[in-house]
Amino acid sequence: MSEAIVVNAVNDAPPTPALLLDGVRYGYAGTRRWVLDGVNLEVAAGRVLGIVGPNEAGKSTLCLVAAGLAPAAIGGRLEGDVLLGGLSTRDANPHQMAQRAGILFQNPVTQLSATAPTVYEEVAFGPRNLGLAVDEIADRVEHALGALRIEALGPRDPMRLSGGQAQLVALASVVALRPPVLVLDEPTSQLDPAGTRLVGEALAGLAAATATAIVVVEHKTWLLADLADACALVADGRVVVHGATADVLADDRLVELGVEPPPAVRLRRAAAVRGVALDSAVVDAVAAARLAADPDTVEPVP
């Protein structure tokens, strides 16, 4: 990718994290409940933070707050500080936030602008809003489509995509804005295993190549096991455990709170409960073995 992407809001002192949540409490407008109730998190440039937690723990709300949309775009009460590249989300306009943090919602269909006749133009929607030069837009759109291997969808009508395709297009449309921080709410919920792995590889590549800080909410902990540098377990609006991915995903509280651990952790745990000896090294080696399939072997229906 071109040099321009590495432009990061963080150009002063190295300790400034790309995203910092400090003592954050948040409640939606018109309600009295704190959906987030004292969240401290930080993500450095180029790092991936996985968020896990039971249903209705506040993960989606955390995404809105981290991306600066809550309260800037939807109101509500915010206490504590959310800093994107050192700038408080309280002080910025929504469009300024758009250049600092990109967000992918759970439902990809709502994310598409519905104004573009082609996927290519849909992905170009954000960059066009910024008034970028045509060449720059073309470069960004092509990179975004390429990173997710959906170049072939370019000429298609965005209103006529399958759920999985729409999810990839929505992700590309966020990536094309090249924000220093990317917040993704279950980006693989509608994808099959192959599509999920593809998104995982694309995100890892993005973090490494462009120093993008990524926050990703996932039920599929096996994906986080490969992708995330750190994980946070969220329940009842609080961060219960925060640390290195392997530690968090092996933590007992994960299971207690109703989060599905990765298969390797599950198996080791089950073996321990049964009192059966199971070599951890073998489990990890088998779990990590990559699927070796040639993408071109799928035959069309005769």
């Binding site: 299971v255 599905e260 298969p263 073998v282 779990a287």
Partner: protein, 269 residues
């Protein structure tokens, strides 16, 4: 066991010319729990829609309890086959959880105490008995999805089809769905489930059907489908056996598709 549904040489071509199914021959039996896996676009959803007439085969035929479904209204076929869709928001319209769950059963003619009992049982199965009076849109997505599932359970059809029931569910939600699938099977009902989650499929279903490009490429119990000899066929459609199965092969324990099978084999060694 009695054949509940039979597909004979079923092919399906969408009006725009896209072929979604080719030469599918299947027999689904009473009380059988069947998991269907395959990539997005492999024809899984098209296949299950042949069962209740939402789509009609363009080749071959579909019979339910020996009766050809051709020409039978979907509303009539719904007495036999209940289909829970992936997206709950495409069906929810009622002002309360209870009336949403009652909708299907009511359409099938259930009334009074019989209806109340079916609705209550369905609500308890998905754990929403405490939300009967709640507005469905006040529930989060994962619970709306359980609500949609309950509305199909309340119809008490002999065949229940679930299209990706576990997406968006946490571990507790998945366990709940596993329990529901198990108890449906015990009461002699046929459960057909589309899923991307191989562990869920290996643990909860007696039979696994693997689809690729509109055809059934593997069909058998998990212990066969997830055996090492079929790893290539699975990989050809970007799937892999659950970890327990792969680990069992690696440790020379044979095919152990579920965690309990693996642990049993380890304990017996």
């Amino acid at each position: 066991m009695t054949a509940v549904a039979r597909l004979e040489g079923v092919g399906f071509v969408y009006p725009d010319g896209t072929r979604a199914l080719a030469g599918v021959a299947l027999e689904l039996r009473e009380g059988e729990r069947v998991g269907i896996v395959g990539q997005n676009g492999s024809g899984k959803s098209t296949l299950v829609r042949q069962l209740n007439g939402l789509l009609r085969p363009t080749e071959g035929r579909v019979t339910l309890f020996g009766r050809d479904t051709a020409g039978v209204h979907v509303a009539e076929l719904a007495r036999t086959v209940g289909l829970a869709f992936q997206n709950p928001d495409r069906q929810i319209f009622a002002a309360s959880v209870r009336s949403e769950v009652a909708f299907g059963a009511r359409n099938l003619g259930r009334r009074g105490a019989e209806l109340d009992r079916a609705v209550q049982a369905a609500l308890e199965a998905v754990g929403l008995e405490g939300e009967a009076a709640t507005n469905p849109y006040d529930l989060g997505y994962s619970r709306r999805k359980l609500l949609a599932l309950a509305s199909i359970l309340a119809m008490e059809t002999p065949v229940v089809v679930l299209d990706e029931p576990t997406t968006g569910q946490d571990a507790r939600g998945v366990e709940r769905i596993q329990r529901i699938v198990g108890s449906l099977g015990e009461t002699g009902r046929t459960v057909i489930t589309i899923s991307h989650d191989m562990r869920f499929v290996a643990e909860s279903f007696q039979r696994v059907i693997v689809m690729r490009a509109g055809r059934v490429i593997l069909d058998g119990p998990p212990v066969t489908v997830f055996a090492a000899e079929h790893a290539g066929a699975l990989a050809s459609t970007f799937l892999e056996a659950p970890l327990a199965a792969r680990l069992g092969e690696r440790l020379g324990l044979g095919t152990t598709p579920s965690e309990s099978a693996l642990l049993d084999a380890l304990a017996a060694r």
